[in-house]
């Protein structure tokens, strides 16, 4: 990279505690929204604005301060056989979205108070007793996950049930999921399991089946909460190639220093030109 390195709060694999995460296998999701409800109940998340999306059953719309699990419903007409104009078949995709708990988490890196931190489980959590509601994490997140709660003023998002993890419990959403679409466990195990599962699905003819954020070499260093999708990520409202913005920060700081130098030189230049006359 460039001249200087920025120290970043990363999961330390030397820790005794293995990194924990979610594998959300959307091919198993039946759209029951038990995860949404369980999350709300356990974490005491207030009511979110109701929305309705199309003919679908999505009434939460998107992740935000008051929605930490969001089940997306994608309905589209699709050809069922060759020559079909699409009127024949309806494809129905369901997917439970959640905070990705990125390896390189922009929200955590830009947080000026240190309120956002990396837990011993490798997850990313807001310390609500420290957050002062500056809002920087909101546009930093490449997934549109974290948001400010208006009436409260602070930033909120999924904690991967930090309180439950500390008691050796499964997060509420994973525990409530009746189809094992949401699987909780050690990240390494989950990744192995997901590789096998996506291979099986492709073999069975699910051409669009793909893992999303399971690769540690992607723009966020892989996610603690990754997915198996049946179509491209953007269909589910997920960015297809997300990046941690602070990867560019060393370059941004250099440009900023250069600009600040230009400013100073301009003042001196204006003064010097005055002297010589």
């Amino acid at each position: 990279m460039s001249g200087f390195e920025l120290e970043i709060d990363l999961y330390d694999s030397a820790d005794q505690q293995p990194r924990m995460g979610f594998f959300t296998d959307t091919s198993l999701c039946i759209g029951c929204k038990a995860c949404e409800i369980a999350c709300k109940e356990w974490n005491d998340v207030p009511e979110a604005d109701l929305v309705h999306r199309g003919m679908s059953m999505d009434n939460t719309g998107t992740l935000g301060a008051d929605t930490w699990r969001h089940v997306a419903f994608i309905e589209e007409r699709q050809p069922v056989e060759l020559g079909d104009d699409g009127a024949g078949g309806l494809r129905w995709l369901m997917s439970s979205d959640v905070c990705k708990h990125c390896t390189h988490a922009a929200c955590l890196e830009v947080c000026p108070t240190g309120s956002l931190f990396r837990t011993e489980f490798g997850t990313v959590v807001v310390q609500e007793d420290i957050c002062n509601g500056c809002g920087y994490c909101v546009p930093a997140c490449p997934f549109g996950v974290i948001d400010k709660r208006k009436e409260d003023g602070r930033a909120w998002k999924c904690t991967l049930c930090y309180d439950r993890l500390k008691e050796d419990q499964t997060p509420a959403c994973a525990q409530a999921c009746p189809t094992h679409s949401i699987q909780f466990g050690e990240l390494e195990d989950l990744r192995d399991r997901a590789q096998k599962r996506v291979g099986d699905l492709v073999e069975k003819g699910e051409a669009g089946a793909q893992l999303y954020l399971a690769d540690p070499s992607d723009g966020i260093g892989g996610a603690g909460a990754f997915f198996l999708l049946l179509d491209d990520p953007e269909v589910y409202g997920l960015p297809p190639d997300p990046k941690d913005t602070t990867a560019e920060l060393p370059g941004i700081w250099k440009t900023t220093a250069l600009a600040a130098g230009t400013l100073l030189a301009s003042v001196l230049g204006a003064a010097f030109a005055g002297r010589s006359r």
């Binding site: 990279m1 999306r53 199309g54 719309g61 998107t62 994608i74 007409r77 699409g86 922009a106 890196e109 830009v110 000026p112 108070t113 957050c131 002062n132 509601g133 500056c134 809002g135 920087y136 909101v138 546009p139 930093a140 997140c141 490449p142 997934f143 549109g144 948001d147 400010k148 709660r149 409260d152 003023g153 602070r154 930033a155 179509d231 953007e234 269909v235 409202g237 960015p239 990046k243 913005t245 602070t246 560019e248 370059g251 941004i252 700081w253 250099k254 440009t255 900023t256 250069l258 600009a259 600040a260 400013l263 100073l264 301009s266 003042v267 001196l268 204006a270 003064a271 030109a273 005055g274």
Partner: protein, 377 residues
């Protein structure tokens, strides 16, 4: 406007009865003949919803960009004026720096969701957070320019005041420009992809506003330096803005095509150019106070920050601005992998005759499309 990245009309599907994936599944050309392929025409999205969450900052933030920028550029002006024995200008610039430094924290604190916790900003120092760095700059800048102003305006503590002036002059340029780093270090396409120009836009804009403030507060006979500074600032701001909008390509649409930001941006450029021209015409000697020129620079500078802020909000709301370049990048990577595989396969039988192996460069780490500029590092 169906450009390469197909940002046209992205996400404007307000009816949103159905994800656009249905109709617009134009698979990327395929490149069967090995020719260049065209990315899909319309990026897909989930009911046209934004990918990113909307920045929650309110009016205080763009106003702070302006006020803090003005204060930051006034500090070095105060120092050079004082060193040259230009008392009038030193007083004016010191007052501008102190005034800006006093208003800035009020604006920032009132934007916080929990204003009473503003001191948490100084709980840690994080170079990965431009807001943290900026908080420390502002917190040290205030006392520094207060000492400087005490020296120039009240004649107290001259030695300490001089030290304050020097510190203020050192910190001020950082105060004026770190806010650009703050915006660039987000996922918002119109800010992040402008990261190589935004700091220069802010530097030029800050020079112009500090010049405007000094011209209003200084007798014309003492105001030669800010007149030149104002011209330089206007040139820098206008040049950097033009470069930024050009390099952003379609991602820069919120800056110049329709919408609230574009109108404000045009007004900002007009004012900045007018102010610069007025001052340039009088750069040699001014008998009268260039009030109009000064006001034009101040207005141009303020509106410029407002336009940049609004453009980012619009950019975050457009799923096509987020998905388009990312999809293009991913398609390019996938094509490169496929090409590599193909050429590896075709090279196999001829391996004995041609020891050169696969000739195709991987190039998979570089983005394709014009909107994804090459990485600076």
């Amino acid at each position: 406007m169906d450009g390469d990245l197909g940002l046209a009309g992205g996400g404007q599907d307000s009816r949103g009865d159905r994800p656009r994936s249905g109709q617009a599944r134009a698979r990327s050309g395929g490149g069967r003949d090995g020719g260049p392929t065209v990315p899909r025409a319309v990026p897909r999205s989930y009911y046209g919803q934004p990918i990113l969450n909307k920045p929650t900052w309110t009016w205080e933030i763009p106003v702070y960009f302006f006020v803090g920028g003005m204060a930051g550029a006034s500090a070095p002006l105060a120092l050079v004026a004082s060193l040259q024995g230009n008392r009038g200008l030193a007083r004016a610039a010191s007052a501008a720096a102190l005034g800006g430094a006093a208003i800035s924290p009020v604006l920032l604190i009132s934007d916080l969701g929990r204003p009473e916790r503003f001191l948490n900003m100084l709980r840690v120092f994080k170079p990965t957070s431009p807001m943290s760095v900026g908080s420390w700059i502002l917190a040290s800048f205030g006392p520094a320019v207060a000492l400087g102003a005490g020296r120039e305006l009240l004649g107290i503590l001259p030695r300490l005041g001089r030290a304050g002036q020097v510190a203020g002059a050192a910190l001020g340029p950082g105060l004026s420009t770190y806010t650009a780093a703050l915006l660039a270090n987000t996922a918002v396409p119109a800010w992040h992809e402008a990261r190589r120009e935004l700091p220069f836009v802010f530097a030029g804009s800050s020079l112009a506003s500090a010049s405007g403030a000094a011209l209003l507060l200084t007798a014309p006979v003492d105001a030669a330096i800010p007149r030149r500074m104002g011209v330089a600032g206007a040139v820098l701001a206008l040049g950097a803005t033009a470069t930024m909008e050009h390099r952003l390509g379609e991602l820069g649409a919120p800056y110049h095509e329709g919408g609230a930001a574009a109108g404000v941006g045009r007004a900002a450029k007009t004012l900045m150019a007018t102010g610069g021209l007025i001052l340039a015409a009088r750069a040699r000697r001014g008998r009268r106070r260039p009030v109009l020129g000064a006001l034009a620079l101040l207005g141009g500078s303020g509106l410029e920050r407002w336009a940049i802020f609004k453009a980012g909000v619009a950019s975050a709301a457009d799923p096509a601005a987020t998905v388009g370049p990312q999809r293009a990048h991913r398609n390019a990577e996938e094509r490169a992998v496929a090409r590599e595989r193909r050429s590896a396969a075709s090279a196999q039988p001829a391996a004995a005759a041609q020891p050169a192996g696969p000739a195709q460069p991987a190039g998979s780490s570089q983005p394709a499309g014009p909107v994804q500029p090459a990485r600076p590092d």
